[in-house]
């Protein structure tokens, strides 16, 4: 734990250096042109302190995370079994696939008018925005994993005369795990975007709500605080899933 040596590594000092340059430049330019509009870092930090002190930011983050996690968990619970069904019963999967693909490729902002007439603008509507697209991502990937079992390993298993249950337990499911996890990851990205859309367009609450309100108050510093929290939240979630992926795949990559 030699601190000096750590700072000599350029993967540490270069990003810090570049951050200092960018933030410093921003501070100077922002201040000299229009400190309110161009929100120099000092004003963002001040704003951040204020939002923390008033409890507004934490309350918003809590609301965002409630919808995010509940929607995500429901999507996992529904998506994985659905994907297994679609994979194990390819005919069913093939028939369903085009709809899922079409829904998945439709930008969610344009579906907002439909969600308003179906679910209103409350919690259920926001939950649906998180749940539905995440569930699609998870189920489609899971199905792919179940269907793409390696034929050579299926043959190995058959040569040892394994039964249906053992085929699933030793060959199909372990082989599908990487696909499921990548579905969980894509799903998480979708879920984060979904929760923010819901908060910006449906019910003006949570972190997305802060962005919308700050935008109408012309307070970029406040918006940037919320954006930063969202980015950090997203990074934490995605990194956690990456670690999960690595843990389930010791057999895949060298762990160096």
């Amino acid at each position: 734990m030699n601190l000096l040596a750590t700072f000599k590594s350029r993967r540490v000092y270069l990003p810090i250096l570049s951050l200092l340059v960018v933030l410093g430049g921003w501070e100077l330019v922002g201040r000299s042109i229009n400190p309110l509009l161009f929100a120099p870092p000092s004003s963002i930090i001040a704003m951040f302190g204020e939002l923390i002190a008033s409890g507004e930011l934490l309350a918003a983050a809590k609301i965002t995370m409630q919808a995010l996690f509940l929607g995500y968990i429901l999507a996992v619970i529904a998506g994985i079994p659905m994907g297994v069904l679609m994979g194990a019963w390819p005919r069913f999967g093939d028939i369903l696939q085009p709809y899922l693909y079409a829904i998945f490729s439709t930008p969610r902002v344009v579906v907002v008018p439909l969600i308003i007439v179906w679910f209103g603008i409350g919690f259920e509507a926001r939950l649906f925005l998180v749940f539905f697209w995440t569930a699609i991502a998870i189920s489609v990937n899971t199905a792919q994993g179940v269907r793409n079992a390696r034929p050579d390993l299926l043959e190995v298993a058959r040569s040892f005369k394994v039964g249906r249950y053992q085929m699933a337990r030793h060959v199909l499911i372990p082989g599908a795990v990487p696909f499921v996890i990548s579905g969980l990851r894509i799903g998480a990205e979708r879920a984060i975007v979904g929760v923010i859309i819901g908060e910006m367009f449906l019910q003006i609450v949570g972190l997305g709500g802060i962005i919308t309100t700050a935008s109408s108050q012309l307070l970029p510093a406040k918006m940037l605080c919320a954006v930063a929290v969202i980015a950090v939240l997203g990074t934490i979630i995605v990194t956690t899933l990456d670690m999960l992926e690595a843990r389930f795949q010791v057999w895949r990559n060298d762990s160096n």
Binding site: R10, R11, L14, P15, L17, S18, L19, V22, L37, F38, P90, R91, D94, I95, L96, Q97, P98, Y99, Y101, A102, S105, T106, P107, R108, V109, V110, V111, V112, P113, L114, I116, V117, W118, E189, I192, V193, I196, I197, M200, G208, I211, T212, A214, S215, L218, P220, M223, L224, A226, V227, I230, A231, G234, T235, V238
Partner: protein, 251 residues
């Protein structure tokens, strides 16, 4: 153990679609709440109306123009910065954090800032598409060029290809092409989202604006009728690039 042929799968899918649409139509007619669930026939009528009035064509044209300009700008920026971070470790460590942060931040959350800083004009809208699409292109350029095939470069040099630029075009770019196309495919999907966001949030226009304005007056049939071409646009774009990508793959 029997696997279905492509033809049989297509047939099943067609039957599935026909069945789905019929059930929808009948259910919607019985349910009789066109606000919540307009019948298929009403959606088709609305689509036809949008087509002959020219509204849809104008909107699509506007959207596609925005999409193409945004993608082109994203490609140029992506190539420049992708090449820089592929060739220089210093540049990589200095720039990568921003691109990674941009990648995890939902574009939608940045749009209000674009509005404040760049306004809702064409520049602002293009910028939203670029913000959505640039990172996958940039990363694919960087990784495609970094993993250049050393053996093939040696082959080219031994047969007389000299200099960095000729090597870039004869070997490096060609070898990176599948990766670049994969990045472009991802970027195109995100660009369509960015386009829809720009058109609904910044200034109502194009197909996104069409959808939002019909949503505002609760014409669900027209909302469906205008979402349809937008989804189709995204699917065609992404699957078209995917098709080229598969043809470029040699392994």
């Amino acid at each position: 153990m029997k696997t279905l042929s492509r033809l049989e799968t297509r047939r099943d899918q067609l039957i599935g679609v026909a069945l789905f649409l019929s059930v929808w139509e009948v259910a919607a007619q019985l349910f009789d709440k066109p606000l919540l669930l307009p019948p298929v026939s009403a959606i088709l009528t609305a689509l036809w109306d949008l087509i002959i009035s020219g509204e849809l064509i104008t909107a699509l044209g506007e959207s596609i123009f925005l999409l193409i300009v945004g993608l082109l700008v994203a490609i140029v920026i992506g190539f420049v910065f992708g090449t820089i971070i592929a060739r220089s470790k210093t540049a990589y460590w200095m720039l990568n954090p921003y691109f990674s942060a941009l990648f995890v931040t939902p574009t939608i959350a940045l749009v209000p800032l674009v509005l404040v800083w760049f306004g809702f004009g064409f520049t602002g809208r293009v910028l939203v598409v670029v913000l959505a699409a640039v990172v996958p292109i940039l990363f694919s350029v960087a990784s495609g060029l970094r993993d250049a095939p050393g053996d093939l470069i040696d082959v080219a040099r031994s047969f007389g290809v000299k200099g960095e630029i000729p090597l870039l075009f004869t070997v490096r770019l060609r070898a990176a092409l599948p990766v670049l196309m994969a990045g472009l495919r991802l970027a195109a999907g995100r660009a369509v989202v960015g386009m829809a966001v720009a058109e609904t949030y910044l200034r109502l226009g194009g197909i996104g604006g069409l959808i939002k304005s019909y949503g505002a007056v609760f014409r669900t049939d027209y909302v469906f009728a205008s979402i349809l071409p937008l989804s189709l646009l995204g699917i065609l774009l992404v699957s078209g690039i995917g098709r080229i990508e598969r043809r470029l793959k040699w392994s």
